[in-house]
Assembly symmetry: C2
Homo-oligomer: 361 residues x 2
């Protein structure tokens, strides 16, 4: 059922209402007040900055996982290994948002002492947008880097037809001065899982070349048929290679899952996952005076965005500018939510016995 | 002048002869014995493993730069900053191979103490294949990561038409057990500068979509006309964003050049470059027992390469397997060199008063 317009099917919800609803949902799933605030904050941030597929869109899936015990609402995060600049933490199957916020804060702490901190996590879960955790070191004028071995495999290795690789994303955040920080957040697939699910939700055909059929490699454009295919990597073999190295560093290095140990996205959900992620914090001041560095980043951003455009092309944007613009707009005008998502979460609200989102605003 | 066959124009040269020739050339350019060995070793490694565009192909350019003082044959590398896990070094305009070998060894030293070491370099130069430096930590059972802000700009920011970004490469090396280590070495452009220069040398038209015209964005396939265009990034805006963040971390963070400070590749060479690069070493043993990790990497490599292929597709390869196979083949049968390259370096041999390569085995 392909619809032609999207505008009729979206509604704006204020950031405050969205946050309060997410808090209530997490409380209802037995998260502590502090952990509920972390998850609600990360999900709201995703919705505000335009990572819509990592915002409230995910709530029904998370609640289901929390209720059936696949995610632990009362996770006891432990440090398994700790060195002067490295650590490995056990997420105790907690929500990825909680585990990776812990990891990022620990990386910052290590970097304050050593200049750089690399923290790996095992037995974690889906953490939403990687940018959220890469951005945590920004508060201490540090660079942040995030990588994850996805909890589900959507890509085949280059030349293959079995989904043995995740869309394993990476995010990098670099402090700026007066300009918004540079924040890159990319899946190693050509199209992110979130983008594809948004097409599915909107009932629109996907562009050619995003998903290829497992049998013959032909393009699949109907989002209802993605289970018959695998997602194509960005830049061909390069994206496949990037997914593989990010996956090994986030997975097996942290004694977490990768490859055949991770289920195919077309297979039924279930089982005890062991999601691995890592986050790095790097202290700018160990390399250059902070003010000088920020001024240089500002200058480079301005020189790039004001450079000559291709005729008929869009504005030149530096990663992070779009996020900043969307946050400003959505904080003012509210977050546009798809009617199908709204209906879904308000069904959920009933089952959780919390005030529906539609009744807030 | 487009030729149709390449086979007639290549000749095999033994690794020993190539190494001896490179050593003599570096000695003739006044490098110390130790530094000549580093450069000759890195260039030979590139030719053996298939990074042909970073091997002897580059010698004429390097010799020219050394002779006119743009590269310093007697560089005095200094540590400007040093913390428990980070360092910034000044390459004194030495050859990039020498500077980045120093950087990688220092990163390993830091990682032995702290678990991870991140070393930035400024006032460096073109260092050849990034894999060479990412692979140095492998000797100590560490992961290696390399990134560089290219010394010349070939790419435009996404949507732009001015070359303000380099093809800024990254390399990642991960230890394996019985399998070859996983080594990914990619430019953030769809095609590397080296690949494009190989087409130029062979006089063959390039694939569509590698280079776009600065005026209208149309595809340029004649490698003699690349100066009228810019290289396209891998994966569109994603590769442009990757180039940008690698460039900022390798350039301005190390007080090295980026963006408008780097010359357009179509502009005449000259000036005092300030090339920035970084290398990270990460100690596997801080996260997982080394034997367990190596066995896991081996298992995952085997499961990926033996997975179901697309019909009619090539073998599934994990990054690093092709390099290992080429090294074995070329160590045995010699390195295939293009006749034009051979003629060029033997002209050079005359001017350096060293035995020509053609006269050595």
């Amino acid at each position: 059922m392909l619809t032609t317009t999207e505008s009729k099917t979206t509604r704006r919800v204020s950031a405050a209402a969205l946050h309060a609803f997410l808090m209530d949902a997490m409380r209802a799933c037995d998260l502590s007040e502090a952990d509920a605030a972390i998850v609600a904050g990360a999900m709201l941030e995703a919705d505000l900055t335009g990572s819509d597929a990592h915002g409230i869109f995910r709530l029904p899936g998370y609640v289901k996982a929390l209720k059936r015990g696949a995610m632990n609402p009362r996770a006891n995060i432990r440090e398994l290994e700790r060195g002067p600049a490295t650590a490995l933490i056990d997420g105790d199957h907690g929500m990825g948002h909680v585990v990776m916020t812990y990891a990022a804060n620990l990386a910052v702490e290590l970097a304050r002492g050593a200049g750089v901190g690399w923290v790996g996590a095992r037995r974690s879960n889906h953490a939403g947008a990687g940018a959220t955790y890469a951005a945590i070191p920004l508060r201490r004028a540090m660079v942040g880097i995030y990588g994850a071995a996805s909890s589900v495999n959507h890509m085949a290795p280059w030349g293959g037809s079995e989904p043995l690789l995740g869309t394993n994303p990476m995010a990098v955040a670099i402090p700026a001065g007066n300009e918004p920080p540079v924040i890159l957040d990319i899946a190693t697939s050509l199209a992110s899982n979130g983008a594809i699910r948004t097409y599915e939700l909107d009932g629109k055909p996907m562009p050619e070349g995003w998903v290829q059929h497992r049998q013959d490699g032909s393009s699949i454009t109907d989002p209802r048929r993605i289970n018959e295919g695998t997602y194509l990597p960005m830049g061909g073999y390069k994206g496949s290679g990037l997914s593989l190295v990010i996956g090994l560093l986030a997975g097996p290095l942290n004694r977490a899952a990768f490859g055949r140990d991770i289920r195919d996205f077309a297979a039924p959900a279930g089982g005890d996952g062991n999601v691995g992620q890592f986050v790095i914090a790097l202290d700018v001041a160990r390399f250059a005076p902070l003010d000088m560095f920020k001024a240089e980043v500002d200058r480079h951003i301005r020189e790039l965005v004001s450079s000559r455009r291709l005729p008929g092309g869009d504005d030149i944007r530096v990663p992070g500018m779009g996020r900043a613009a969307r946050r400003a707009e959505r904080e003012r005008d509210g977050v546009p939510l798809n009617a199908a998502v709204l209906a879904q979460v308000d069904e959920l609200a009933k089952s959780l016995a919390i005030t529906p989102l539609g009744a807030r605003a």
